[in-house]
């Protein structure tokens, strides 16, 4: 009998299909198969499995909290870095203003720049994340945590409370920096004094320079504190992921499977399937061009 290419292909495909079916059957057993010594025969095991499942759900809720906390802290940290950048500009302006060579017009221009920095700082501190004010304490729905009066005075409308997110059974993390914490650095008082001193003369500016340096340190401390919280959140996220993986790897999670049998069958059938696939790939790639060579 003449063996045609089509017959070889047909036999190979049939063999492949048989291998695939056996593999599917094993995989089906891994997920749903029955076993002579099922863990689910034991009602106590079943209730324990339920309890573990509840724990996974609880962890998933914590993971959601962790994701929200991370986004809030990262947005806050970006805002604080912008504050830090403003303080650096304030320092540069102070150094220029400490020079005795500046004309009154030059001093006025620097004073105007300080006002611009003050306005920008208010804007930064009034930032929102998902409709909630970042720097208002727990009064996140307030219209503007920082408002500017007609006389240029700045009022804080939030509170000094922490927003706490529960990220595990025993751990809550404060995700916010309240506007009060920023106010306590005297950021607006220092900037305002510097603005006045800038017009008055170089000696007054020199006196305020150390305040600006100390302000920069305080803002950096806030930024560092947020960095620590980001790390803590990241570690918690990894820990919750791993805990969930551990919980879902428990043997009770695959309670109806004869694992030992499944492992062996998976091994031998997967190898057979792959070998057949390789042979098929080698044979089926022959085409008319191969015969014309």
């Amino acid at each position: 009998m003449r063996i045609t290419q089509a017959m070889i292909s047909k036999n190979l495909i049939e063999g492949l299909r048989n291998n695939r079916d056996r593999l599917n059957e094993t995989q089906r057993k891994i997920s749903t198969g029955k076993k002579h010594a099922k863990l689910s025969d034991d009602p106590e095991s079943f209730s324990k499995a339920k309890r573990l499942s509840k724990q996974i759900n609880q962890n998933n809720q914590y993971l959601k909290n962790v994701t929200k906390a991370n986004a809030w802290v990262m947005t806050t940290r970006n805002a604080v870095e912008n504050l830090s950048s403003n303080i650096s500009q304030l320092r540069e302006i102070s150094l220029q203003g400490a020079s005795d060579d500046l004309t009154p017009t030059g001093r006025q221009a620097l004073s105007d720049q300080i006002q611009y920095i003050i306005d920008d700082t208010v804007d930064i501190l009034n930032q929102s994340y998902l409709g909630k004010k970042l720097f208002a304490g727990t009064k996140t729905k307030v219209e503007s945590p920082f408002s500017v009066g007609n006389d240029g005075s700045i009022t804080y409308n939030g509170n000094s409370a922490n927003i706490n997110n529960k990220i595990s059974d025993n751990l809550s993390i404060s995700i916010n920096i309240s506007g009060q914490e920023v106010l306590d650095t005297n950021i607006f008082t220092i900037a305002s004094n510097l603005k006045t001193a800038m017009v008055a003369g170089s000696s007054d500016v020199k006196a305020d320079l150390s305040d600006v340096e100390s302000l920069k340190d305080k803002i950096n401390q806030i930024s560092t504190s947020l960095g620590h919280r980001e790390n803590q959140i990241y570690l918690s996220q990894n820990r919750l992921d791993t805990a969930n993986m551990n919980l879902s790897s428990l043997l009770s999670d695959t309670e109806d499977v004869d694992l030992a049998e499944a492992i062996t069958a998976y091994n031998s059938q997967e190898i057979a399937y792959r070998a057949a696939m390789q042979t098929a790939a080698d044979v089926l790639k022959l085409n008319i061009m191969d015969y014309l060579r």
């Binding site: 995989q27 089906r28 891994i30 997920s31 749903t32 010594a37 863990l39 095991s45 324990k48 499995a49 573990l52 724990q55 962890n59 570690l235 990894n238 820990r239 919750l240 992921d241 791993t242 805990a243 969930n244 993986m245 551990n246 919980l247 879902s248 790897s249 428990l250 043997l251 009770s252 695959t254 499977v257 694992l259 030992a260 499944a262 492992i263 062996t264 998976y266 091994n267 997967e270 190898i271 792959r274």
Partner: protein, 165 residues
């Protein structure tokens, strides 16, 4: 800890083992000895209060083993030594994985994947392997910070002609 306390503890553990998955997956239900106990001082993520475990081969189905809590019968997992001739991560070679682990795990330790069986495939936890020092009978489950590691990586059969030599 005096001998009486250890004996009492082992008696309880023997009962736990007889109830646990160990019994279903191993043919050699044997008497537990104090030197079989591997101590995880911080527990493992999700089970921080469980410190005492045993590792036992699944007879006839090597290289898979059972990692069984001695304090809680329902806490048992299938584990696989990272150096084996059966499975490796699908996204990297075992050698590369070992080089990543070497930065954080001392070579004195044995390292195992925790395996998970789903309807389509076997997955392994490369991000948080089990680390066991058989000399000190102690272990821990570190979380390795690396972009290519995951808690649920696909596993692939090792090509015996090449990787598995």
């Amino acid at each position: 800890m005096n001998d009486t306390i250890i004996d009492d503890k082992i008696k309880i553990y023997q009962d736990v083992l007889d109830e646990g998955h160990y019994k279903l997956l191993t043919n050699n239900i044997d008497t537990i000895h104090s030197e079989d106990i591997i101590f995880f001082s911080d527990g493992i993520p999700g089970f921080e209060d469980l410190t005492d475990f045993i590792v036992c081969p699944i007879i006839d189905y090597k290289p898979f083993q059972v990692f069984q809590s001695l304090q809680s019968p329902e806490i048992g997992m299938i584990i696989l030594p990272i150096i084996n001739k059966f499975l490796s991560p699908a996204n990297m070679t075992t050698d590369l994985l070992i080089s990543i682990y070497q930065k954080e795990i001392s070579p004195d330790n044995d390292i195992y994947f925790i395996c998970r069986f789903s309807d389509k495939h076997i997955t392994i936890n490369t991000k948080a392997p089990l680390v066991i020092n058989l000399n000190t009978k102690s272990g821990f489950q570190p979380i390795i910070d690396h972009d290519d590691l995951n808690t649920n990586d696909n596993a692939q059969l090792i090509n015996k002609e090449s990787d598995g030599k």
